[in-house]
């Protein structure tokens, strides 16, 4: 499939998913309380920014996955004091 065919096929689905995100954010804002300081809101904003602005390399999904991931520390085996038995 070429890019036009994919867009034709997926436009309405993309539109619907964006609306779902927008509506969910509206729902949060309408509700009582304040989540402005919640780190998850910043993560969501960063992820939306990746979708909106990152057009140089088609790996948005991978970048967003990493955004929502805990860091990996390559020295974890030492910190856990674990060594292989084999």
């Amino acid at each position: 499939m070429n890019s036009k065919q994919i867009l034709d096929r997926e436009f309405l689905e993309i539109r619907a998913k964006i609306l779902e995100v927008a509506a969910a954010l509206d729902r949060i804002e309408r509700a009582n309380g304040d989540v402005a300081g919640d780190s998850r809101m910043a993560l969501i904003a960063d992820a939306i920014n990746v979708i909106a602005n990152d057009q140089s390399d088609p790996i948005r999904a991978e970048k967003i996955q990493l955004l929502f991931s805990r860091d990996y520390d390559e020295k974890w085996l030492e910190e856990f004091a674990l060594t292989s038995k084999t």
């Binding site: 996955q65 990996y72 390559e74 974890w76 292989s84």
Partner: protein, 275 residues
């Protein structure tokens, strides 16, 4: 199209699901041992579970012309209890010669803790000692990337044959690490917490079709045991060749499983149902 679902927890599913799977072309299932939704209280509970996996499910599946294979372990979630895990590890060898056992799995990490890592390594040592294949669970959501890297580190420290290890539940940010290291990768088609059929096809298009399998991981949670046919449909809608689709859903799992001495797949064209 005939297909194999390499990761499906049928103990949690109804017999109706076996019937539906059979109608949709499923000819074989492999069922890794996993968490029951609650922590079991004793090793005896696992002995009964292993009997269910090796005696009961193969018969239930056979009624619908489906071959049932399994993997044994104590799962990552209950592995936090190291004492119980070691009791369960002692039980496993007596089941390894059961005719449907393919290896050790699904071992792995859940919250990436020290205890989970200890039990993971002890499972690996058991697999090596008994020349077993290994099927590995990677954590979900924010723990997946870190946990997958930790698992690859531990595998790298053991003398395992990488072609006999499948690292499951890979997604966009972990698949390349697994494939580049020489292991098989599994993609789980599962609502919300794992991969959709569309994203799985994207990953195949980006990373190729070698050493990649797809599964439904249907279980007691919100899941869809017929998710593999959803992927078949998505690949067809994108115009992929039938031969490529067949490679992903049939040839690849058959190739991986064929390295187990207990894997004998009947010719789907001549399969019957148990009476």
């Amino acid at each position: 199209m005939y297909y194999i679902d390499p990761h499906l927890h049928m103990v949690s599913r109804t017999t109706d699901d076996y019937e539906t799977l059979s109608k949709m072309g499923c000819v074989a299932i492999s069922e890794p041992a996993f968490w029951a939704g609650f922590d079991r209280g004793s090793a005896d509970s696992f002995r009964d579970y292993f009997r269910q996996l090796t005696e009961v499910e193969p018969k239930r599946a056979a009624q619908y012309g489906i071959q049932h294979f399994t993997w044994l372990c104590i799962n990552a979630k209950e592995a936090e209890n190291v004492e119980l895990s070691r009791e369960v590890l002692k039980l496993i060898p007596e089941f390894l010669d059961c005719p449907n056992v393919l290896g050790i799995g699904e071992i792995g990490l859940n919250k990436n803790t020290r205890n989970e890592a200890i039990v993971f390594q002890e499972h690996l040592e058991l697999a090596i000692a008994h020349d077993q294949q290994v099927l590995i669970h990677t954590p979900h959501l924010e723990d997946k990337y870190q946990g997958t890297r930790m698992i690859l580190d531990m595998l790298g420290e053991h003398s395992v044959d990488r072609s006999r290890v499948l690292v499951d539940h890979v997604e966009e940010h972990t698949v390349e690490h697994v494939l580049k290291a020489g292991y098989w990768a599994g993609m789980t088609l599962y609502p919300v917490t794992k991969c959709t059929p569309s994203r799985a096809v994207d990953i195949i298009e980006r990373h190729g079709s070698d050493r990649i399998c797809v599964n439904s991981a249907g279980d007691w949670g919100p899941s869809k045991p017929t998710a593999v046919p959803d992927l078949i449909l998505e690949m067809r809608r994108r115009g992929h060749d039938e031969s490529l689709i067949r490679k992903i859903v049939y040839d690849n799992p058959r190739t991986f499983f064929s390295q187990s001495r207990n894997f004998h797949l009947s010719d789907p064209a001549t399969r019957g149902v148990a009476k």
